[in-house]
Structure formats: structure tokens, C-alpha cells
């Protein structure tokens, strides 16, 4: 199992409420995934500043702040539980190098000019509370509740997976050709941090996007290249897409209104969204990519 949820706002009306909307959806998907939960929110896009979502695990934040400020000048840090959002004008490559070589206990959950990612083991309602999802505003967001099947219940094994700037992916299902694909993508330069199958799908998406393919075209070619069962929700800085494999065993429902598009594994996740009773509600058809934005 596993539960996946996502909202893409078509207008500004609900931007302040995005976190609240997403947290109700995640809470309602606990029955599909009680082991861990996570979410990615796209907010306050900046032209020059990069945001790094870091999990500092059991490191002391004050010490970490002191140490990292010596390496990255003018870094701004904001702590939410065991996650830290680090803001800097330094290029991502440099920042990743600094963190990886000086802070082995810190994992980079994701980075970009808009995305912020939080994920942790535990029940969705506890994870949502811990990271104060209710207080988030934003333009679009994606979330996941995990029932672990093929790899351990850890932060690294939690979704969303982010393998490129402002990119993320959540998955309900399992892939059968991920080991092979991981080897192929590793040869081409993609770096993976876990043994998880979904991270390979995220890596596949990032690899194709970096070759200037659109999100829609990437997921369409994924229908051939990714073998297994899946409903994916993928996010980019300005876009949002959903795809189910051609067998379509893994569920998904979309509700579209003039203000937003919501997607979830089950309707009960979105039963409380504003105006949902007047929404156009449909199941994404097997093997067809649905995308919004770009």
C-alpha cells in the first residue's frame, strides 16, 4: 500500500491554506501508510537564493549552525524539529560538497529555489504536527504516507524523493527493474542515497528533465522504461503531474475545481477540501500522463 496526495493551485485563492489542505489529506491517508510520512511544498520562489532541506538527525542545532556558518558565509538557517532549511546564494554543487564532506550525519533531503521537503518516520499525524505543515503557504505540494514493503523504515526510505533542483516524486507501488536502472543511471552520473525503488524513478525523472525533456514527455517515456506497479505524482518548480502504469492496480482520484487540482489515492483524503462537492472528480486513466503547469 502507501498513500499519495498532492495539490496544485490554479489561482492564488488558497495559497495561504495549502499546508492546512495538505495536512488533512495526509492525516486521512494514515490507513494506507502508518510507517512514515513526508511532504514537499513549493513556496516563495527566489531568483538567487537556494534553499536546502536538511535532516540534521540528532545533531545539536546550535552547534550545527555555528559550524556551518564558518563554511558557508551569510547562510540563513531555520530549524523545524530535526529538519533545517538553509538559505544561501552559494551554488548547489558547492553547498552539497561542503555538507557531505563536513557533516556526515546530515542528509540533504532536497534543494532548489522553491521546494522545501520534510520527511520522517512515524504516523502521518505526528509527522505533520512535528513539521507544522498547517502553517505552510505555497503554490503546490505533494505528500506521502508509507507502508514499507521493499526497504527499511528510515528517513532515507521515506518519500518524497528529490534527486534534482526543485524536483520531487512520490510513489504508490513497487518497481521491478530498479536495480538495473539504478546501475544505468549511476553510470550517467546520478547519485542515489538509498536502496529504495522510488528513488530510482525520481532519478530517472531528474535525468530526463536535465536533458531538457518536459515533465509530461519524461513520464510518458517512463511508461516504457519503468517496470512495475505505480501511481506517481511528480513536482517541478512550476509543474505537477500524475501517471498510473498501464495495469492500473494502484488507485488514484483527481478532483479539479477552478481554484485547484487535488489528487489522492482515495477520495476520503480529499473529502474535506473546500468546494470538493462541486469538483470534477475522475480517475486518471491507465498509461496517460496528466500534467498542470510546466
Amino acid at each position: 500500500m502507501c498513500g499519495i496526495v498532492g495539490i496544485y493551485l490554479k489561482t492564488k485563492k488558497f495559497e495561504k491554506n495549502l499546508g492546512k489542505m495538505l495536512s488533512v489529506m495526509l492525516n486521512n491517508m494514515e490507513s494506507r501508510g502508518p510507517d512514515s510520512a513526508g511532504f514537499a511544498i513549493y513556496k516563495n520562489e527566489s531568483k538567487k537564493i537556494y534553499k536546502f532541506s536538511l535532516c540534521i538527525n540528532d545533531l545539536n542545532f546550535i552547534n550545527f549552525k555555528k559550524e556551518i556558518s564558518k563554511k558557508i558565509k551569510k547562510a540563513k538557517l531555520n530549524q523545524i524539529s530535526d529538519h533545517v532549511i538553509l538559505k544561501t546564494q552559494l551554488q548547489p554543487k558547492k553547498v552539497i560538497e561542503i555538507i557531505n564532506s563536513n557533516f556526515p550525519k546530515v542528509s540533504i533531503v532536497g534543494y532548489g529555489r522553491s521546494i522545501e521537503i520534510f520527511k520522517q518516520v512515524g504516523k502521518p499525524k505526528d509527522v505533520v504536527k512535528k513539521f507544522k505543515l498547517d502553517s505552510f503557504s505555497g503554490t503546490h505540494g505533494i505528500g506521502h504516507t508509507r507502508m514499507a514493503t521493499e526497504s527499511a523504515i528510515t528517513t532515507d526510505g521515506s518519500h518524497p524523493y528529490s534527486t534534482g533542483e526543485d524536483e520531487c516524486l512520490v510513489h504508490n507501488g513497487s518497481l521491478s527493474n530498479h536495480n538495473n536502472l539504478r546501475r544505468e543511471l549511476t553510470k550517467k552520473g546520478t547519485i542515489f542515497n538509498s536502496e529504495n525503488d522510488t528513488e530510482v524513478a525520481a532519478g530517472y525523472v531528474s535525468h530526463n528533465l536535465s536533458n531538457n525533456k518536459s515533465l509530461k514527455d519524461t513520464l510518458t517515456s517512463g511508461l516504457k522504461d519503468l517496470d512495475g506497479f505505480y501511481t506517481f505524482i511528480a513536482g517541478t518548480r512550476k509543474g505537477f503531474a500524475v501517471v498510473r502504469d498501464e495495469i492500473a492496480c494502484k488507485p488514484a482520484v483527481i478532483a479539479e475545481t477552478k481554484n485547484y487540482v487535488a489528487i489522492a489515492s482515495e477520495f476520503q483524503a480529499m473529502a474535506h477540501l473546500p468546494d470538493v462537492n462541486n469538483a470534477k472528480i475522475f480517475e486518471p486513466e491507465p498509461g496517460i500522463v496528466y500534467s498542470w503547469g510546466k
Binding site: A248, P251, F267, Q268, M270, A271, N277, I281, P286
Partner: protein, 227 residues
């Protein structure tokens, strides 16, 4: 009687309906605020009329006997699965495996049904006003399926003795499913079911009939690739 899922728990409501006091004459219920709940109205076994106002989750009216359940909304996976008798009427769309393994009764879907509609059906009649998705009537054994719209890929794969009638196009037929000649008795059967489903303006003569070629009933080495 009005039953509100915001005020009462799902289990409480199902319990009330499953253990109806037959001495009382209360046989009509309206359920409000279903909010996508699973297994709503599952296991009913007496004559009663239920109207559910809103969208429901999985296995709605599963194992139904005798009851008439109307859903004024969409349903999730496996509506009326394993139904024995009675009527289940979905006014919106149905997710996958609608009417799965059901032995009897009538399932009416006003919208579309997604994949595997009527999988392994064993005697139920299913009438879909819209279209059905891929692998519908997979391994269907008995009963009737009427589709007023189109059918997806691999319709009637490995089917036994279910009669399938489709008005629109069929993307592809599954293994051992073939188009068959439509006779008067089939047209009569379609007319009766369309009438029961309150579908007007659809000519019973406009359907095509599909059924089993009966080549996979017994193992034959020449058919090994089709199994």
C-alpha cells in the same frame, strides 16, 4: 430515517442496517456525509431502501442481499462485490472491480466504470450507461453485462458463460472472447435490463454481443500461449 456519518461511526451505521429489527417498519434510510468511507452498507441481508448522498469509498454494498442501495455520487473499488441479490445503483462513476465475483442482483452505473468491471462475475447483471475500462468481465462466469458506451482493452478475457453486450466500440477482445450473433432472446434480455435500469432512448437492437469461444475450457497444448 436519516443516518449521518459525521455524528455516528461507520460501524454503528452498518450494524444498525445489518441487524434491522424486522418488527419495526423502518425500511427507508438516507445516509449523509459518507466522505469516501469504505465498506458502507456492506453485508445487508434484508429488503430495505437506502440512499447515500455523496461519494463513498471501497466495497460499498458488498455482499448485498435483497437491499436496494442508491449512491448519489461516485464509488471506489469493488462496489457491490459478491452481491447475491438486490439492486445497487450508482449515479456517478465507479472505480475498478465493480460487481466483482457477484452471484446475483442488479448493478446499475449511470456514469463510467473503470478497469476490471465484472471481474469473475458469477450471475449478477451489470448495466453501465457509460463506458468500462480494460479487462472488464475478466474470467466472467455467468450473468449479463450491458455497456451503453465503449469497452477498454481485453474485454471478456478468459470468460466462461457471461453474455456481454456493448453498444459502442471495443478497444480489443481478450483471449477466447469473440463477437457472437445477436438473437431475439438476447434483444429481449437487453430490453428488460434497460427498462429495469430506467435507461431510455437506447435501442436494444443497437448492441453487439460478445461471448466465449469455449476454446480454453479444457487444457490444450496448442493454446498454451493463451492461458
Amino acid at each position: 430515517m436519516k443516518l449521518d456519518l459525521k455524528k455516528k461511526k461507520l460501524r454503528e451505521i452498518n450494524n444498525t442496517l445489518q441487524n434491522l429489527d424486522i418488527k419495526k417498519n423502518e425500511r427507508e434510510f438516507t445516509i449523509i456525509n459518507p466522505e469516501g468511507s469504505h465498506a458502507l452498507c456492506a453485508g445487508l441481508n434484508q429488503e430495505m431502501k437506502i440512499l447515500i448522498k455523496g461519494h463513498v469509498g471501497y466495497y460499498c454494498a458488498g455482499m448485498n442481499q435483497k437491499a436496494h442501495v442508491t449512491i448519489d455520487g461516485n464509488v471506489g473499488t469493488g462496489v457491490a462485490e459478491n452481491m447475491m441479490s438486490g439492486i445497487v445503483h450508482v449515479k456517478g462513476n465507479a472505480s475498478q472491480s465493480a460487481g466483482a465475483t457477484a452471484h446475483g442482483g442488479l448493478l446499475i452505473i449511470d456514469g463510467d466504470a473503470s478497469s476490471r468491471c465484472g471481474i469473475s462475475m458469477k450471475g449478477i447483471d451489470i448495466v453501465v450507461k457509460g463506458s468500462v475500462g480494460h479487462m472488464s468481465a475478466f474470467m466472467a462466469q455467468a450473468g449479463t453485462m450491458i455497456v451503453c458506451g465503449d469497452a477498454g482493452e481485453a474485454l471478456g478475457d478468459s470468460l466462461y458463460e457471461t453474455d456481454i453486450f456493448v453498444k459502442g466500440s471495443v478497444k480489443s477482445l481478450g483471449s477466447d472472447c469473440i463477437e457472437k450473433k445477436i438473437e431475439k432472446k438476447h434483444i429481449d434480455k437487453i430490453s428488460i435490463l434497460l427498462k429495469k435500469s430506467e435507461i431510455k432512448n437506447v435501442r436494444p437492437e443497437s448492441f453487439k454481443r460478445y461471448g466465449s469461444a469455449r476454446k480454453l475450457y479444457n487444457f490444450n497444448i496448442d493454446n498454451v500461449s493463451s492461458y
